[in-house]
Subunit: 407 residues, 2 copies
């Protein structure tokens, strides 16, 4: 009998009617002969409500107690789904994080799964019982409740699939799969039938929010095939899998964008060794991630400018951190620009094909879109452009790489 892990997100669990629809999907998978374990999120909005209560109780809520409060949302949906399944004649049982146990590190609020006990689960599933497991939560070696951080339920599902050596982990969400780009911007965006773990990771890191990054990393490490599909429609979704499993590899898998970008230019810094380190040390101390970095070439002057990007939500903190060290760094002034976005193209085909970058730069140049910074990885090229060009740039690139669906 093949083992299947099915995971349902917050919108899929938002209310009893939807939970009943989830139960029907689970019943169908079981009827098809799978041994099924289901991982559930809290009802949409519930985790935010619980986090809000903790913050209201104290802005510095102890992480261990925060986890006690916040993990309750998944406990509720776990019990409710077990009830709904039993009500339709499908034997089901809840297994909470501490009951399995889902053993984690003790970094409360952002714990990492270390191991999952599956004996009781396997025993129940072997007799045809559906195991319902809360996502997002775990327990330390000392028996205290932990949570995995936002979006952690995807990771719970993949970790459980790995522990059970499941054939697949199906992640039901509110989109029909992974698309070549955002269909709200490009109506001719296509659902990808397959995508590699590496591409999925790169897309997640540059703004595509289909799967949580850690869950993809784990799936890649454990070689768990993951299928992303919609909880609200019937469709094949997108299979996230190893590169060797994909026969007809496209050059580019998709075009992604990220609005959470802001540009900082540190004007008039001494052009000497160590100055870049002096700039970034205070930002690192403040745990602010710096992304794209451009150091201007100095011409006949002992001073230069350094430009970089930070998450837009961190800009105020970045400014404060730098200004506190103005004398030590020795810069003249800071320029900031929040009206920038990052647009990226991702594809494992880049490894073997040259000319991918040139296509990008040429397509943007033809529309008069100025590139303010560039970063690349082995399978990704990202450019920083003015925000007003976002939609145009995404559409132009989507066409330039031949991703548009036939009309």
């Amino acid at each position: 009998m093949s083992t299947l892990v099915m995971k349902f997100g917050g919108t899929s669990m938002a209310g009893i009617e939807r939970i009943r629809a989830v139960a029907q999907r689970v019943a169908r998978a079981r009827a098809e002969g799978h041994a099924v374990a289901v991982v559930v999120s809290a009802m949409a909005g519930e985790t935010d409500r619980l986090v809000g209560l903790c913050r209201e109780a104290s802005p510095l809520a102890e992480p261990a107690e925060y986890d006690v409060v916040v993990s309750s949302g998944e406990q509720v949906t776990t019990g409710l789904l077990a009830i709904a399944l039993n009500a339709m004649g499908v034997p089901a049982r809840s297994f909470l994080g501490w009951q399995l146990p889902i053993r984690t590190s003790d970094t409360h609020g952002t714990a990492r799964i270390r191991a999952i006990g599956t004996d009781a689960l396997r025993h129940a599933m072997a007799s045809g019982t559906v195991a319902v497991v809360p996502g997002f939560q775990g327990v330390t070696a000392k028996g205290r409740v932990t949570t995995l951080g936002r979006g952690g339920s995807d990771t719970s599902a993949v970790a459980l699939a790995a522990a059970l050596r499941a054939q697949r982990c199906d992640i039901y969400t509110d989109v029909e799969g992974v698309f070549t780009t955002d269909p709200r911007i490009v109506p001719r965006a296509r659902r990808l039938a397959r995508i590699t773990y590496e591409e999925m990771l790169e897309l997640a890191s540059v703004g595509a929010k289909v799967l949580q990054t850690r869950s993809v990393e784990l799936a890649m490490k454990e070689r768990v095939p993951v299928r992303v599909l919609s909880s609200f429609t019937d469709g094949p979704g997108t299979l996230v899998t190893g590169e060797d499993e994909i026969v007809e590899q496209e050059l580019i898998a998709g075009v992604a964008y990220d609005r959470n970008e802001a540009k900082v230019t540190v004007v008039g810094v001494p052009d000497r060794p160590g100055v870049v380190a002096a700039i970034f040390a205070p930002l690192a101390e403040a745990h602010i991630n710096v992304d794209m970095i451009v150091q201007n070439v100095a011409h006949d002057r002992p001073i230069t400018d350094v430009t970089f990007t930070v998450p837009r939500t961190e800009l105020a903190r970045a400014r404060t951190a730098l200004e506190a060290h103005q004398a030590a760094i020795g810069f003249e002034r800071l320029l900031t620009d929040e009206k920038v976005v990052k647009v990226s193209v991702v594809g494992v085909g880049m490894r073997s094909h040259s000319g991918v970058a040139v296509t990008m730069f040429r397509a943007l140049a033809e529309r008069g879109i100025n590139i303010q910074a560039i970063t690349t990885s082995e399978i990704r090229i990202s450019v920083l452009i003015a925000e007003e060009y976002l939609e145009l740039a995404v559409r132009v690139l989507h066409s330039a790489y031949g991703l548009d669906a036939p009309q």
Copy 2:
């Protein structure tokens, strides 16, 4: 160091402002030198919300999964109170039902506490940490979550006080203590400084809803002094304790009433042995509690009438159960009356003083109030009267036993 268990109900925990007020009370008790364990209910309304979700998922929700869902309300308030305490500099830690553990029977939904593990709790409390424990929940020997039934948090608190051999269990609620009667009916009702366990039990059984019956039974069995006091005002409350601890015993502790009464008269049953059993068997099968029973004396006829009371909320079911057995019982017809109430006087003084009943009957007769049925226990007399006389009867009896506060 003396050990104190403090318990806060749902209205005391309804929202962060109130939880902060609770934390202040706890901080004060700790500052006075007590080692403190706190037992909390879910926020007012939360348990109803969770029960509603279970019922919506299935009217026949599995009790084991129902408990998983419903117990989450106390988990939330436990974490929030620990956060609020730490925020005001009082070290505090949550201990969930499965963590201590609070070991219970496996009768989900109405589980009974068997034992409470206190090692971790004592260790924490010895170092000055406040232990925060969810009421209402426990765990079976097999490690499944249970709940104790509505109002079970009072029982959790008393059981914890017994396990810790605490000096006292303070139960904070939304009233200032136990009153001689309902102050909404008798403005001159007085708060009792002390009351015996027995009296408290009798009052609870006849409609006074200050403490859950099982918690008082347990307190009596384990000799835990319980204090009932208000979460919203400062006052000494009422101490519930053993009879031997009360020096100046009053004759009557209080006057209680219960509107949840309905009268059933089974008219024209054969006056032969076994007929009463034939009437009550179908009611017992339907788990309907019969309270006061009056069998009319038959005069020169082979048939008689039997009158009894059932909870008003069960009247429809009682009627259905009886009508289904009309032929077997052989009655002519059923008369029902929902406009009746039970008024009771309770006091351990009755054991040693005669004339208590006469005072009651005389006081009611003087006002023209007809008694339709009577039941008594060693320390209680209850009468069934027409509902329209309820307030008058309570006021008259309150005065007749000298319970009115001086003006």
